[in-house]
Amino acid sequence: MLSIENLHASVEDGESTREILKGLDLEIWPGEVHAIMGPNGAGKSTLGHIIAGKDGYDVTEGTISFNDENLLEMAPEERAAAGIFLAFQYPVEVPGVATMTFLKAALNAQREARGEKALSTPEFMKAVKTAADKLGVKQEMLRRPINVGFSGGEKKRNEIMQMALLQPKLAVLDETDSGLDIDALRIVSEGVNSLRSPERSFLVITHYQRLLDYIVPDHVHVLAGGRIVRSGGPELAKELEERGYAEFLEAA
């Protein structure tokens, strides 16, 4: 489904360029949940941003293909229509655009890009209500501008609610656990787990093992110094929780 080979990426940092990803390889098959763990500054969020198509990164080497398409040549909205979803670490506040208006524009734009019919208003309302109820997102929040005045937990629930509505093929969760209390973590995790299916894959980016108690991954990778330095099963996350990232920082 997603195949990343030898990915090198850098950012402009004032006068100089700084290489963040230094030859990253990752292969995700349909239905799999992969966790990427690693110390701060390892390039975890960069990886999520590059998959979603954010500007500001220069891919100098390597490829990313998604269902045999060259992802790096696609605009962010094309990636979304193809089934990529990024749950933002810091969901953006958009004053003046009602959440409902935004969801309708997003869903119907994706459907149009895929050659599907736009949903009628009743169909759309039903789909939103189903997703919102599952994540405990109140109707009143949907009328408010996107994320404006939402608490940290509400923003994260809103992200997963959007994922439930848009039904992506590959969801990248960028530190979705950060800023969540234990109850919100449980709601968000249940939301994610209920979307797990043999066709849908997840890339869960996290610093802490805690989230992986709720969303149990098939594979865990350690990202340090811009590369995957170790891969394993769920037990690897536990080991990291006990021993920390120190040895990988040295290795990198």
Binding site: A75, P76, E77, V97, L107, A109, I146
Partner: protein
């Protein structure tokens, strides 16, 4: 008038000559002669007059169209029928070619409406708020106005009013309005110009808000053509515990200058100004506010939102003056401008003059492009880039409508602004 009198200024002088022939000894006519004399002493304001630095009327109005005669009833009726009131059940007050069109001394739903000139005219209190003004547009109107209305609102929750200016194409029109809102009463006013391609309007409104009264006033400046000019001056006085919610919506083509001179005269008064401007193409939209706090514990806020593109210009001048003794004043002004492309022009000129020591005042101004983080967020959800930018531009301007309490009216104004954003550089967005 100075030696460098322009053709436009000669037109105005000739107009005064002909109108003053029928002046009486009434105070309103004495005021007219005085006002025009003061206007003529300096002529049309130009860029060396600080308040008109960015809107040089002497240069922009080299010549003026012919003053309009009384309007044709059938044409006015057709124009009105084609543009229904924006608010359901609104009472329409029609000023056609500057003259009040309606029954003399009409009373509708507790609102008393009378002409300012001619038979049955009511002029008591008219001119009080402009007597000390030295604003040239105000003086020109006071000297030359061809008619208008006085409106007395004596009851709370009166029906909405829609004051409509209708002008002949290619004409010069100077209608005048005086509105008196009695203690505890409330008025809900939409003031708009319909039609008038290539017309030059210089309207004047005086608004007196008595103790505990509330007024919601929306001025729509939607320029009909590149050569249309919509100049308007609102002078408002707010008494104790009075409240004003003002909004200017500026769209379309041509030159528009919407001026507000607000005097917060009573303690605990609250005034709020909002402006939503879309200046695309041949549009010069000027919003100028002079606000004077003269009382205790009064509050004011101003939010100007301007979107410019395709060579359009938006000017925002906001001056807040806090008089000595106006303690506990809370005044906040913000002007935000959005560039839709690289060709628009924006001027933000905030000024604070504070002569009291126990006050909270602030102002801020921003101008820039859309926030790329927001654009990416929408695109990452599948919204195509053009639609995302369009959606964000709309949201930016429409936010200035936040204080419009009538939701149906708010929706209509939002649609109007979205429509104004439809065409950029001769192309629709999507």
């Amino acid at each position: 008038m100075s030696a460098a009198q322009t053709e436009a200024e000669r037109t105005l002088a000739a107009l005064f000559e002909s109108r003053s022939a029928s002046f009486t000894k009434a105070p309103i006519d004495a005021a007219r002669a005085d006002a025009f004399r003061r206007f003529a002493a300096n002529g049309l304001p130009h860029r060396r007059v600080e308040a008109y630095k960015y809107t040089d009327l002497k240069a922009r109005l080299r010549r003026l169209p012919e003053p309009a005669g009384p309007a044709d009833n059938a044409r006015v009726a057709a124009t009105l029928a084609a543009h229904p009131p924006l608010q359901e059940g609104a009472t329409r007050v029609l000023i056609a070619n500057g003259r009040y069109h309606g029954a003399i001394g009409e009373t509708i739903g507790g609102i008393r409406i009378a002409s300012l000139l001619g038979e049955g005219a009511e002029t008591e209190g008219v001119g009080t708020l402009v007597a000390a003004s030295d604003d040239p547009l105000t003086l020109a109107n006071v000297g030359l106005f061809e008619g208008g209305v006085s409106i007395h609102v004596d009851a709370p929750s009166a029906r909405p009013l829609e004051i409509v200016h209708v002008a002949n194409d290619e004409s010069l029109v100077m209608g005048r309005i005086a509105v008196f809102v009695a203690p505890g009463a409330s008025a809900n006013v939409v003031e708009r110009v319909i039609g008038g391609r290539d017309a030059v309007l210089n309207t004047l409104a005086e608004l007196t808000i008595a103790e505990g009264a509330r007024v919601d006033w929306i001025r729509i400046a939607d320029g009909a053509s590149e050569a249309s000019t919509d100049l308007s001056s609102l002078h408002v006085r707010v008494a104790e515990r009075g409240r004003l919610e003002h909004l200017t919506v500026s769209t379309g083509l041509g030159l528009a200058r919407a001026q507000a001179f607000a005097h917060v005269a009573g303690d605990e008064a609250d005034v709020n100004f909002r402006a939503a401007t879309v200046a695309i193409g041949k549009r010069h939209a000027d919003n100028t506010l002079v606000l004077r706090h003269d009382a205790l514990n009064s509050t004011s806020s101003e939010v100007f939102r301007s979107a410019v593109g395709d060579g359009g210009t938006a000017i925002v001048q906001g001056r807040i003056l806090v008089a000595p003794g106006a303690q506990k004043t809370d005044a906040r002004m913000m002007s935000n401008a959005l560039f839709l492309d690289e060709t628009g022009e924006v001027v933000n000129k905030p000024e604070l003059e504070i002569f009291a020591d126990d006050v909270q005042c602030g102002h801020g101004a921003t101008s820039g492009d859309l926030d790329e983080e927001m654009v990416f967020y929408l695109r990452a959800r599948g919204v195509p880039e053009v639609s995302a930018r369009r959606l964000l531009a709309e949201a930016f301007v429409v936010e200035a409508l936040e204080r419009v309490t009538d939701e149906a009216l708010q929706d209509k104004l939002a649609d109007h602004l979205r429509g104004a954003l439809d065409v950029m550089g001769g192309k629709t967005w999507s």
